[in-house]
Amino acid sequence: MAHRTLDFLFSPVDPPKPSAERKNPLAKDSTFDADAVTALQDEFGERIGDVTLYANEHTVYVDRESIVDVCTFLKDRFGYVYLSDLGGIDRFTEEQRFEVLYNLIAMERGKRIRLKVRLDEEDPVVPSVYEVYPAAGWNERECWDMFGIRFDGHPDLRRMFMPEDFEHFPLRKEFPSLGIPGSLPLPSQTDDGEIVEDPYPAAHGSKPLRRTPFPE
């Protein structure tokens, strides 16, 4: 059998090589929207940050204050009428710790674009795009629930999955996978028993159960 040199597209520790972009077998035309990106840069100038491309996917970094304007602009001028996805990212050790991503679809033009906003750890607040895309409602609630990123102008910013009584933000990197002991009160196993705080004391070092001091 003839010897064949292994064809690496990348080495894991380095950023992706430009040649890897073209070779990506799953790259789609729909995620490359040069028109919209150019128009955004012309219209907003400095308020648009870097534009990155990986696997033929455009990511546009947007200044926090102008995210609503950018969304409105894309919706009116480029037919991005549909918000497909919105989510948070914790970069943990980086300078601007949090990111919020917006995934928009222009159905008529067959395009998809990703916007990103970067936030400081001290002030994780973004203007809500609820007025432009009502679909963002629950996604922003989820993002607040999981990362503690607040959305200014959201009509109903409650937690999405976790109960309101929960104090932590689970998808932040410092939150342990095992959970924080005592953070989730659960009903007792018997009818007349009290509510217990830690369902798995053994997992947290066999501490005895603490009783919740809920008011009568």
Partner: protein
């Protein structure tokens, strides 16, 4: 404000959560007129989370005016398992079986959706035969998911027999999954870079056997339902959502297509071999519960067509089912058992797995039976993702439920929830 349960007990469990939930319910459409007449008094009803008609653990807090729903707040998260957090501590291949547990009615679609996202992240090309088998099995799981939806939906509206008919065919489908993937329910058959095992001749025979039987039976069921007075009356004009509303609130999948938007990821961003296949996208204009039923019913027929074409192609298309690159996918078992390198690669794949480049981030969407299922992945150059975000269709669809329920009759709640086809395992992530 003191919040009470339906038995008039004070909430002692997660009190702040319930207080805020009901505060939201009260504040939604504000105007509340106090009345002393019990017949005119408004009433709060807590439907779920443990209710057979909510298809899992969906909780609706409803404010009723007689039989009309004045306002509604949906509470989800009772099945929240933190699947996105789990992914951050697992290798890509290790995480794949967890996707079975998201939309547990169509596990194969989820496996494929996740593997495609990882393959896009790492630039892995999957052999054509594997792509055809993936497509075929995804479509079978679409039929399986729609069958369960149809059975339970018709059962919710009071007819039991359809449930038994659909489950007869789901049983056949599960036998096919068992034969092809080795498991009936949680298949976990897809691998990064291909699939675990090839389609056996027995599997092909079972599918060949299933298709004509199912098509014939489906055509027999439809007149029973489409012209059934009770079924039509309970669905037509119920839970109407217009095209504009559906787009704004971000509905997806069959629910969006029932409102007249011809949007399907299989055509919008063709993945796998969908661009080589001939199929239509059923669309309806009405946007009511009946339209959603008709769209799903047509989708099952389209899926049969797709499966047929895949089978025909697979009969002549031979080739590998996993990419032959030890840095991208598991080596074949032959190689693992009979060569040293194969065994080392098997260990390395299990231990570390595929390592996409540092800082790469991709989003790959697929058309799951419920709608657009997308995985957003960020790599940090190691074998596990730095961040995985799931865009799950049930979550997106449920958001529209609040708007749809408000103004309806209480008896239609069950129909509307059923017609949206939510799966809580997916909505709660």
């Amino acid at each position: 404000m003191e919040v009470r349960t339906d038995q008039n007990e004070v909430f002692s469990f997660w009190p702040i959560h319930n207080e805020r939930l009901f505060a939201r319910l009260e504040s939604k459409h504000l105007h509340v007129e106090p009345s002393t007449d019990p017949l005119e008094a408004e009433m709060s009803l807590n439907l779920g989370p443990q209710h057979p008609a909510t298809h899992g653990v969906l909780r609706c807090a409803l404010k009723l005016d007689g039989e009309n729903i004045k306002s509604c707040v949906i509470d989800i998260g009772y099945l929240h398992r933190g699947i996105e957090k789990l992914a951050e501590n697992k290798t890509y291949q290790e995480f794949m079986p967890y996707t079975d547990r998201m939309d547990y009615l169509a596990p194969y679609s989820n496996n494929v959706a996740f593997c495609l996202a990882v393959e896009k992240l790492a630039g892995i090309e999957v052999p054509l035969r594997a792509q055809y088998i993936r497509t075929l099995m995804s479509e079978l799981s679409r039929i399986s998911s729609h069958l369960l939806w149809m059975g339970t939906m018709v059962m919710d509206s009071g007819a039991l027999s359809v449930f038994l008919w659909t489950f007869k065919y789901r049983e056949l489908l599960y036998s096919i999954f068992d034969e092809v993937a080795g498991a009936r329910f949680t298949v976990s058959h897809s691998r990064i870079g291909g699939i675990a095992g090839d389609l056996s001749q027995r599997g092909v025979d079972m599918i060949e056997d299933f298709l004509p039987k199912f098509t014939e039976e489906l055509d027999e069921w439809m007149p029973f339902l489409n012209r059934n007075r009770i079924w039509v009356d309970r669905n037509r004009g119920v839970g109407v959502i217009t095209k504009e509303e559906a787009l704004a609130i971000g509905m997806t999948g069959p629910n969006l297509r029932a409102s007249g938007v011809k949007f399907d990821i299989r055509r919008f961003e063709p993945y796998m071999v969908y661009d080589r296949l001939d199929f239509d996208i059923p669309t309806r204009e009405e946007g009511d519960s009946f339209a959603r039923y008709l769209v799903r019913q047509d989708e099952m027929k389209e899926s049969v067509r797709i499966v047929r074409q895949c089978l025909d192609t697979l009969a002549t298309l031979q080739g590998p089912i996993r990419v032959d690159n030890a840095k991208h996918a598991y080596p074949s078992k032959n190689e693992v058992y009979y060569s040293m390198e194969g065994m080392i690669h098997d260990f390395v794949m299990t231990d570390t797995g595929v390592c996409p480049p540092k800082g790469a981030e991709v989003y790959h969407a697929t058309e799951a039976p419920k709608g657009e299922l997308g995985f957003f992945l960020i790599s940090d150059g190691t074998g596990s993702p730095w961040r995985m975000h799931i865009n799950s269709p049930s979550f997106t669809n449920l958001q529209a439920l609040e708007n749809m329920l408000e103004g309806c009759m209480i008896a239609d709640t069950v129909i509307i929830i059923g017609s949206l086809d939510p799966v809580m395992g997916e909505a709660d992530k």
